[in-house]
């Protein structure tokens, strides 16, 4: 299984994702330059964190016009695994691959800290290796991670079990105290209806080695590998 990490000119967590996949997980991985439509035969695509085009006006708004996004959209429609982390989540929202939008954190400040998120649904390729209700310690680092969507969309997300991760307190309480940025319904990550596109604000690629604070992010990356292997093993 080969991973591709998209590189927009202002991506700055591309390297971290690359190292997490290649170095820690030991899986093949390559960079995909944003101006190319060629996904190089990758089996999963990561849209990494950063500030894709400086993002001075609206995060991810320019990145969605990059040629690579045409291919990523096509890849997603055909069932390919797409993981958008932080800026990558913002880009997925802008590109219409996920619903809703990101606004500025409610404190109007950049936030870099460890947060706790609860796995809400394990019936997806991104969480199959996790336990339902498992609390993951994973850092965030963003200025615009205050997820917002209208009530109808929220209802739909909840009804279809598409809220994958919610911010909680360290002991798992899903209340305001655990919500760092003001996201509606404590949403930290959501998937599309087909469950093959995930966007989340926390950085699993930063949580892959215990000496650096946490290795809880590995469960997401491992789930992707497991589900891919399963899919190959059981032909449709």
């Amino acid at each position: 299984m080969k991973f591709g990490v998209v590189v927009f000119p202002g991506s700055n967590c591309d390297h971290d994702a690359f190292c997490a996949i290649g170095g820690v997980l030991g899986r093949p991985v390559e960079y995909l330059w944003h101006r190319s439509e060629n996904l190089a035969g990758c089996d999963a695509i990561i849209l990494p964190g950063g500030f894709a085009f400086g993002d001075y006006l609206r995060t991810g708004a320019i990145a969605r016009f990059s040629p690579v996004m045409t291919s990523v959209a096509k890849f997603a429609r055909s069932g390919g695994l797409v993981l958008g982390i932080c800026n990558g989540f913002q880009v997925l929202c802008e590109a219409g691959l996920l619903p809703g939008a990101m606004t500025r954190n409610r404190g109007l400040r950049f936030l870099c800290q460890q947060v706790y998120i609860r796995v809400e649904n394990t019936d997806t390729p991104f969480t199959s290796a996790a336990q339902r209700g498992q609390i993951l310690k994973i850092p965030i680092a963003h200025m615009d991670g205050n997820y917002f969507c209208d009530d109808a969309t929220l209802d739909e997300l909840e009804r279809e079990n598409r809220v994958m991760f919610r911010y909680t307190t360290p002991d798992g309480r899903n209340d305001d105290a655990g919500n760092p940025n003001g996201s509606v319904a404590n949403i930290a990550g959501i998937c599309n209806r087909e469950r093959n596109v995930l966007g989340l604000m926390p950085h699993p690629e930063r949580a892959v080695e215990a000496p650096l604070g946490s290795a809880d992010g590995l469960v997401i990356l491992r789930s992707m590998v497991d589900s891919f292997v399963r899919r190959i093993a059981i032909p449709a």
Binding site: F51, G54, R109, C112, P139, L212
Partner: protein
Amino acid sequence: MLETEIRVTREIAAEHGLSADEYSRVLEILGREPSITELGIFSVMWSEHCSYKSSKVHLKRLPTHGPRVLQGPGENAGVVDIGDGFCAVFKIESHNHPSFVEPFQGAATGVGGILRDIFTMGAFPIAVLDSLRFGPITNDPNNSPAVGAATEEVARNRRLLDGVIRGIGFYGNCFGVPTVGGEVQFEPCYSNNPLVNALALGIAKKENLFFARAQGPGNPVIYVGAKTGRDGIHGASLLASAEFSQESQQKRPNVQVGDPFMEKLLLEACLEAMKTGAVVAIQDMGAAGLTSSSSEMASRGGLGIEIELSRVPQREAHMTPYEIMLSESQERMLLVAERGREDEIFRVFEKWGLDAVEIGRVTDDGRLRILERGNIAAEIPAHAIAEEGPAYKRPIAPPAHPAGGASLINFAPAGTDFTENFRRLLASPTIASKQWIIGQYDHMVRTNTRIVPGAGDAAVLRLKDSRRALALSTDGNGRWCWLNPKVGAMHAVAEAARNVACSGARPVAATNCLNFGNPEKPEAMWQFSEAIDGIAEACGALKVPITGGNVSFYNETLGKAIYPTPVIGVLGILEDSSKALGLAFRNEGDVIILLDGAAAAETPIEGLRREFSSSEYAKTIHGIVAGEPPAIDLTAEKRLQDCLVALATDGVIESAHDVSDGGLAVSLAESCFASDGLAAHVALDGAEPDESALFGERGARAVVSVRTDSLARVAEVAAKYSVSAQSIGKAVRGGFRIEYKGVLCVRGTVQSLHNSWSGALEKALRYGSTTNIGQ
């Protein structure tokens, strides 16, 4: 021959900050009157900021050589050999004046400038630290001018702090470099002159280093990066090389505007271009922009450079040669390429969407020749502007009256309960938790931050291609330097190195940022000279040569100077990154040991009163700033630091935290706060007064925690280094308590003490105005 609209006179030269003597020297070098462009070039290059004319004669006294130093002062940054063919490239620089005029952009471009200094040498930036000083951000209930300030002043200081923090975060977060440490202190003297010193560290393969030395006459000179605008003109000469007056806000147009996205593109493109092998030399356009980069590259290579200004990418129409040469627009670089391989470079910059234009060539006549549409706008020997600037041995005189208040502290009677004072000390902004700041910086990006800010005495960054890690700390105590510049400066070096040793790393090199007042005043120059002597002595004794840095003079507003504030950044190497130590107590039942490098000497009570009157406690609790910094014993410091490194290497200590601001009591509390709910049960004994024992700031000491089965080994190692290792208590579940001579004098739950400490900064800022909300 020269096409000039304005005929230069001595008056115009004086308005450019050139003295009569300096102007005569210009006439002598040129053999004629300068054009207005030439005058501009001389004025920036010979400004204090660029020429170091007041400091040069003193800086020579600093030790700059060592077995690991590959490049000392004189290049864009210092370079240190860290083994396995890799080197660390690092430097600290000030951006004080711009940050006062416009805190957000001033701080942002300070970070941008120091990052360019690192990657222009071919190194990838892996960390930034910021050393900050502000005026008081709290109103003092006791109305003590040593602690608080008037409401209006407090509001302004909060705005400056907020703007600076946002600016640093804005730039580093977007660029993608972790901001991993630094320090923040608050003193009334910085109210009208905050300090913003930014340190950047990068990593490169030794053979991939680049230098700013032009080579090969005929080689093309290529301009890359952002377009040139009218921003920042005379930033170096007008902003950084003069005192502030009431009109300083009018200097806002002299502050540059930062674009971290552009800088990120420049970083990627420059490093990629360097890989082609077609780059001969490269230098960033920082202070004095195109002028300094071109003349310095030419001068270092012993060659000349000719530039055609009409080819320079410009953001605004009708810019004059004077404006183009003096612009300090950010995110620009000048490079010399190998003739015939320009296209390889152009292709890289095209990929990243950046301008790259051949604007001139290297010549063999040693002259900086500036053409505008073929007409000569300036022609000056490059060496004369870059290297032959004035150098002054300015008058030096100690102040007529010793610094500090007249009355020394009177110690409280033995057996007093100091818990309430302790709480106030924990809540003082200098000591309080900096989490509010740390959380606004991305301190984890690039996944190398082994010890995050606040978790250890130094930032520790692991190196992905090696077992090693690098540790970094900045320090500087302006109050102590004011009371005694030489001893205060020695403490700055000692504490930075001690912090690095506490993380387990061996200190190997240093960089310095020297923030002082007006060098034309003999007292300021005396402070500077004394501080240099102190730094030189301490760096020599602790084996941390100075590899670079910067001098910031004229930190005065309305004639009132800041405390002399040398800030020292020390770099250390940790052979095994898994041995990195934090400051948090880790296990219930671990023994708390106080390591002391100095032999227990009885200081007479008068001496203790003098030393204690300079402490954070004396200032915060009693409003007293007087006496002397604690006496310093560099051999004791060295012993302690060597001992700490040995203990960490052996893996026999669980945590280490030095004793500094707020003394032993604060160190113990911080090790509890960082832990998972552990408290310290400590009993001390000694001959000194209670407050001195609890809150005294004498150096060469550190608090370590040890598993009981490692105690014997710790004692053995300490004895080997002649360091006293005194068992003073235990890490426990329960209340925090310190006994002195059998009497309980500080007590409380860790949670309640933590509350005093953790929310102080945020509470002070909550009602502060916010400005300029950036990304």
